[in-house]
């Protein structure tokens, strides 16, 4: 396996996370460079994800690189039945780096083993999306001045939300205290509770979304999706419980920042957007710097 690839956030040690975040801060100061001059990056989106793709393509363009690839599987040869193995073998001959989004879980790890050049996972189904995690960490560090000893509140769908799981794993290096706010049906999976117990990470679970957020440094909101509920009545019961409204923020800490992986539907009321604690749009912009840093590391630049 090519160890320069980034498939899962666990591929980075604590030191590597901090190194990449420091690099991201440099890119924020000087986003434009010629670091990728003469380099070709393949951007393979086997399923569409405009937000992630534009963020990567902006990062590559600002570093002076060239992009080849496709934006959904219908314009690739996979519709003609080509295997992922063959596509990756061919593409790795053409390019210096592969950025891949694919609906099948584990496809990114497999691609990294087949490819001669590093692979950056831009999401493999419900499995991993490590560049999102790095931009979340960068946003947290930037707004709090540190990643250590923070009170992290995660709200909404904690069962299926892959961004929640990866962020939890990454923050576990930094002595966090977690508060998980979710309906019973969408609580944090047992595997993660076992992990936190084993690693002496403090956490509490709540079903009520109320003034307990007054202790929060970070409020990480996610979407509660109707299709996650077997029983539609259960969804109706909770659909309006996990919505953040501006008046809930009046006694919260000054340093509190609200994050959301976007796109949002209705889980953050629009009146929150004007609150200085709302950070989700800046968070998305941080994605470009985080991805520049990840690319630079993958190519040893």
């Amino acid at each position: 396996m090519d160890n320069k690839s980034l498939v899962s956030i666990d591929d980075y040690t604590k030191e590597e996370i901090l190194e990449v975040l420091a690099k991201a801060a440099e890119f924020e100061k000087n986003p434009n460079s010629n670091m990728l001059e003469g380099k070709v990056v393949s951007s393979l989106f086997f399923e569409p994800s405009t937000r992630t793709r534009l963020s990567f393509e902006t990062a590559i363009s600002r570093m002076g690189g060239k992009i080849v690839g496709f934006t959904d599987a219908s314009s690739s040869s996979t519709t003609k039945g080509e295997t992922l193995n063959d596509t990756i073998k061919m593409v790795s001959n053409y390019s210096d780096l592969i950025v891949m989004r694919h609906p099948i879980e584990g496809s990114a790890r497999y691609a990294s083993e087949v490819s001669d050049v590093p692979v950056i996972n831009a999401g493999d189904g419900a499995n991993q999306h490590p560049t999102q995690t790095m931009l979340d960490l960068y946003s947290i560090q930037k707004t709090q001045g540190t990643l250590e000893n923070l009170n992290i509140f995660m709200v909404g769908d904690l069962k299926y939300g892959r961004t929640v799981h990866s962020l939890l794993m990454a923050l576990s290096h930094f002595n966090p205290t977690f508060h998980f706010i979710a309906p019973k049906e969408l609580e944090i999976p047992r595997a993660y509770k076992i992990f936190m117990d084993k690693n002496n990470i403090k956490y509490q679970e709540h079903t009520e979304f109320n003034s307990i957020i007054n202790d929060a440094d970070i409020l990480y909101m996610t979407r509660v999706q109707r299709e996650r509920f077997a029983d539609p009545l259960e969804y109706e019961k909770v659909k309006n419980v996990y919505i953040l409204k501006n008046d809930m923020l009046k006694d919260t800490r000054d340093n509190l920042r609200i994050l959301h992986p976007l796109p949002r539907v209705n889980e953050i009321a629009v009146d929150v957007d004007a609150n200085p604690k709302a950070y989700y749009f800046e968070q998305a912009l941080n994605g470009v710097f985080a991805r520049q840093a990840i690319i630079a590391k993958a190519l040893d630049l």
Binding site: S8, T83, L84, N85, P103, I104, E105, G106, S107, R109, Y110, D124, G125, A126, N127, Q128, A191
Partner: protein, 152 residues
């Protein structure tokens, strides 16, 4: 009872006897160990009476001494199998099979959305818990637990 067992065990001069295989899993064990490709003599017996298992199978393989990684594969389906190492008609060592550290190529990942179930990919798992055996897929990172282990 003891006498009979000794007779079964002593039937080969040098090699390995695998005992206490649940009768219904005998042929799976043969597949996992790829005994169809074994060049030395292999004796297979099934449906012997067993107090513990009801009916059990026994496999005797002449001139074959398994490496740990090789034999521990069968613990995925027969965690209680016993090994008797035979030299010059004597049982020189008795062992139980142990959970391996990793499992490659034998088990199917239980996640239908995993790349290993979509393309021809050799499966790889880390054993995250030896008992009950719990496997974590190297690719999709999902857990396959004991009751969902299917042999490829």
């Amino acid at each position: 009872m003891t006498k009979k067992k000794e007779l079964q065990v002593r039937a080969i001069k040098n090699g390995t006897v695998i005992d206490h295989i649940p009768a219904e899993l005998l042929f799976k064990v043969i597949n996992i160990l790829e005994l169809d490709k074994c060049p030395t003599s292999v004796t297979i017996g099934n449906n012997y009476k067993s107090d513990m298992l009801g009916k059990k199978g026994i496999i005797k393989i002449s001139e074959k001494f398994f490496e740990d990684d090789e034999i521990n594969k069968i613990s995925l389906i027969t965690p209680n199998a016993k090994l008797n190492i035979i030299r010059d008609y004597q049982v020189v060592e008795k062992r139980v099979v142990e959970a391996p550290n990793k499992v490659e190529g034998i088990v199917k990942c239980m996640n239908p959305k995993c790349i290993t179930n979509v393309e021809e990919v050799y499966t790889k798992f880390k054993v995250v818990n030896p008992s009950p055996i719990t496997l974590k897929c190297h690719y999709c990172e999902k857990i396959t637990d004991e009751k969902n282990i299917r042999i490829k």
